[in-house]
Symmetry: C2
Subunit: 249 residues, 2 copies
């Protein structure tokens, strides 16, 4: 498998360059190209790994996303798979499941595919929404200067406060995060992965959210000895420790 | 399909009576036999309906549960299916899926079965845990006097307060419940049921929780015009409006 990191695409590169492999995954990166942190891009990357597909990664900073494929959308991940360009991590997972039915299933059937939509919404609305308030200034700090300016200008109105104010007092909110994660804690009494005995895309949905925090922030959200911490470690071990190879912030 | 309501079993009835059909579902009831309110029993009942299986219902008040099948457990639902006695709504759903593979699937494959475990934990830990604090005195009020005494004595230590105090100020907690239900709200933008185009056991998990509140309490938790309210109405319509036939409290 190849995971080339060839820096951030310029407009000319994106449109004129012949890809090395037929699949290209555009991901969000910080000032360092290897610091890819988007939870959505991690979901897509884990889905590609699960399917055992080769792909080339193109780390892309915030202010370069619009140049990738203006027709596809303004957010990463974007997957170019042959002549298909797919924007949005959910659409990417659906595409991979449909296009590569003979590879390991991401959803484990129609019921799993449908249920994953609720689990995605849970990971976003119950977990990511809390975590962003605990790491948003740290995310800012790993970005290149021009991306920092964009990030602050776009995020502070959404948060209704400064990045610094959002993150302030985060230690006091760890218990609230643990309560929000209680469903996962309870589930792990029955099975080692959301996918059952082995991981499925449902695992990557929550994993992407926690890997986002691991890559972007030094703040510890989860006790690594806890059941959820142990599940996260199992996910970091997958595919020859692929996700663990990105150093924690 | 037969849904006989034959009142609450006495010890003699439970052990000596020949069942009319081979399947008997023991459910929790209030002072009125038809006021079956246990969220777990509703999950099991909907699962039986989903499978299209005949069963006889035996509404059982709290203080009679121990007499049903002491070897099976001290909580309802309990399903007696031929020579099998299964306690716990999750175990009942798994049994039905295994024992009746040619009937409509409850989980839609292995991925759905595994994902349902997280959704069950979410319904319990994120939703039921909030709702109980809003309806616990109303539950008490629908019980027969001997069950009221048991209920108060067992629940108040768990709640750390009186039933009345738990329920007080519940109007102020509706926004918190709506936030907890946000994953469902978001999911419904993509599909009409957690099961996708049609309901699966994942729907019955949350439905049981909301039907518990509908049957036990007059307090309105969900706007019937909201997306979640509309989904709940669709669930009430299932199987010839089976769950709607039980009057709201």
């Amino acid at each position: 498998m190849m995971f080339a990191q060839i820096g951030c695409p310029t407009k000319a590169e994106t449109h004129n360059r012949e890809p090395d492999v037929s699949r290209i995954l555009y991901e969000l990166c910080g000032a360092e190209a290897e610091r890819c942190f988007s939870p959505f891009a991690w979901r897509a990357r884990m889905a590609l790994l699960h399917k055992g597909l080769e792909f080339e990664r193109r780390p892309t900073p915030f202010t370069s996303i619009a140049r990738i494929a203006p027709e596809a959308g303004k957010t990463v991940p974007i997957l170019v798979d042959g002549d298909r360009t797919i924007c949005d991590s959910w659409a990417i997972a659906c595409h991979l499941e449909d296009a590569y039915p003979d590879r390991p299933s991401l959803f484990g059937g129609d019921g799993g595919h449908a249920a994953a939509k609720l689990i995605e919404s849970w990971a976003n609305a119950a977990i990511s929404s809390r975590i962003v308030q605990m790491i948003v200034k740290d995310i800012h700090d790993i970005l290149a200067p021009e991306d920092q300016a964009y990030f602050r200008a776009s995020r502070e109105p959404r948060l209704g406060k400064t990045l610094e104010a959002a993150q302030e007092g985060r230690e006091d909110r760890l218990a609230d995060l643990a309560t929000a994660l209680l469903p996962m804690h309870l589930m792990l009494k029955s099975q080692p992965f959301i996918g059952g005995a082995a991981p499925m895309h449902t695992d990557y949905l929550l994993f992407g959210t926690l890997q986002w925090a691991r890559v972007a922030s030094p703040f510890s959200l989860i006790d690594p000895e806890s059941p959820i911490g142990q599940w996260f470690e199992r996910c970091l071990d997958l595919y020859d420790g692929h996700a663990r190879a990105v150093k924690a912030a």
